[in-house]
Symmetry: none
């Protein structure tokens, strides 16, 4: 947002900004007419809402239900329509692999081939344990093809991710996946001459994997698709002049934070307490703290209203620990909504609360979708959040004289 003027406006100072993201925080009203956030007892967030500014944001756009990738890019201030993250990269992030500049990530399926015909694109949905075992076999024997190093990691069920690392890789390839059963396997074809080397390597990988798996059943071959390289994203340090750290437990969000140049330290445990402790520990080393809480979304997806309420309440209970660090600006929001009545991500606007030194104390009396609709921030694109935080922190100077 405002990329044409932003570089000239950035000021560096010693303020501390906290973006606390409760994944899937937003909801919609259920039969009783309330949402999880409304049902939750959140005295600390409510107190902040009273003295801070509230509003609603849309991660990608009106009516658009965002996946985690676009939703977080929006929160980090990047236009999710401009920077689209490939499926292969999200798959790799999801299983905790690193994807660096120049790397090529892709999604893999174990599949069944009989007499040269793909008879099951998911190898009978083999269990994760078998997937892990088979991936170990592949990893043992395929570490390098030509000058390209090969990394593989098992996902859930029949899925895995592959990351190729080396020079001259391109994502301009056709899927090595017939997309339906009853057909022979297909090779990856270069869609541009610059992808010829990559196609050769991908096809070699498939041949080697098929040879290694030939005595297995039903998982005796692999399909590859969703080739993706990192979009050329300016890091948060370059874009905002802030040293940024992502504190997140789940690999997907750690990966997303890394894309925009955040450091992502390993955590000693998976609790909210562990995350807050990490923020405390790193307080002097960074300017911008992205703290990600996953379980609100997980319970929303499960349709478990009460459990989602409990996670919100737990975060609220721990909030004073974050506030005791005296951040100059704190924003509390979600990346998107995950109403438990829908059991999935949704397009509903996401509640947002910002408290800084100069935030307007608007009429919102509680942190909830309904109160946020009354707030002075109004309805904003997610990309605007970081700018509002920076403005309050004195990190954006005047535009024009």
């Amino acid at each position: 947002m405002y990329e044409e003027i932003l570089p000239e406006l950035i000021v560096e100072n010693d303020t501390k900004l906290v973006l606390l993201v409760l994944d899937g925080l937003g909801g919609t009203t259920d039969d009783r007419g309330i949402t999880e956030l409304e049902a939750a007892h959140t005295p600390n967030m409510d107190a902040l809402a009273k003295v801070g500014s509230c509003g609603l944001h849309r991660a990608v756009g009106y009516g658009i239900t965002p996946g985690s990738g676009p939703a977080h890019l929006g929160l980090f201030g990047y236009n999710p329509l401009k920077y689209q993250i490939g499926r292969g990269i999200l798959e790799a992030f999801g299983v905790g692999m690193d994807v660096g500049p120049g790397d090529l990530a892709m999604r893999g399926n174990f599949a069944t081939m009989e007499n040269g015909i793909i008879t099951d694109r998911r190898a009978g949905r083999i269990p994760t344990e078998l997937c892990e075992k088979l991936v170990e076999k592949l990893k043992d024997k395929i570490t390098k093809i030509e000058d390209i190093s090969v990394d593989i990691k098992a996902g859930r069920d029949y899925r895995f991710a592959v990351v190729l690392r080396g020079n001259g890789l391109s994502a301009l390839l056709s899927d090595a996946d017939p997309q339906m059963t009853g057909k022979p396997p297909v090779k990856a074809m270069p869609l541009s001459p610059i992808a010829e080397k990559t196609a050769r390597i991908v096809n070699k990988f498939i041949d080697m994997a098929t040879e290694i798996l030939k005595d297995e059943h039903p998982a005796n071959t692999v399909l590859l698709r969703g080739y993706a390289k990192l979009a050329d994203i300016m890091t948060s340090t370059q874009k905002y002049g802030m040293r940024a750290v992502g504190i997140a437990v789940y690999p997907m969000y750690r990966g997303l934070a890394r894309i925009v140049g955040m450091d992502c330290p390993d955590l000693p445990g998976e609790s909210i307490e562990d995350e807050i402790n990490m923020a405390k520990k790193l307080w002097n080393d960074y300017d911008f703290f992205f703290i990600h809480i996953k379980k609100t979304d997980s319970y929303g997806e499960d349709g478990n209203f009460d459990a989602k309420v409990k996670v919100i309440e737990e975060v609220d209970e721990k909030l004073p620990q974050i506030l005791s660090l005296n951040p100059d600006v704190i924003a509390i929001t979600g990346d998107h909504s995950t109403p438990s009545v829908l059991k999935s991500h949704s397009w509903h606007p996401v509640p947002l609360l910002i408290k800084g030194r100069y935030t307007f104390a608007d009429d919102a009396q509680k942190f909830s979708e309904r109160e946020c609709a009354k707030g002075i921030i109004g309805h904003i694109p997610a990309e605007a959040i970081i700018l509002l935080m920076m403005a309050d922190a004195g990190r954006l100077k005047k535009f024009g004289a």
Copy 2:
């Protein structure tokens, strides 16, 4: 909106969506501080507002007063700044003519020529009845020029519309209208070599018409301008994957609905009841129902506050008949505002109410501009409405993983 990602998000299912448009619905406060919608007794809309989501939309942009063309394109989800509908087409729609792909529409004036000089560009504002008589004369004698068929229809006073149909027509012509009196008539000039044939045909039409009218007075010649072909608009079926029908009485709105690919069945009568009955009849044949009520706008333009209130109340009274069809999502709004204090279209934001399965039951307690300003939808561009409706109907899948 979001045209770069939309095609991949479309889901087809068997949900039914109703967009009920009260033309010119929005108002501004009068001396008593109320609007027509606030004054109207609308128990059914108010009940929907209580359980649904409210907001305000702008048809084209902040401060922009839209004509019917851009206002409806916005409601249909097309950017009215990107897709501009030529004057000739709106004129033809307004008198109930069809304009198909490749056709060229234009506006005509009867005018007065004396001694080779245009002395009145509106032929003394001849009455509509005379206009109709003269158009009949022209229609009798001019049906085809070269291989191009010619259709003419009278408008109000001295105005008429011409639609040319055939191959190779172009709108890249200069006006055949001196724009001021005291000058000789001017020929249509091709602004590009591809328009040479069209210029020849337009000029031939003017010559023939002038010959036919030579003994008339004051309407003894014609001026033509506003040449326009249909913009290359993706139809609603292509764009949204919905079979859409437009239920409207007035030719202008039927024409606008047709441009975006809606079917527009003939109605047996002009009442709101007739329109609702048509929706009932076609309920199983379409996914998206655009129902257009004209009179709110007409009375607004007349400055007749009370009559506009009455039309709103009549629609409210009939609303249960639409609701009894059990649409999955219904949106009630206007295409723009027509405050009776202004006696014209205006730039004021337009009240919007959406009720679907997953709409947030916000704090708006009544359907009115003031309550809509409190709603959770906020202020949105008109183009977003159809996306919010589709999202609620499960017709838009997740963007990104």
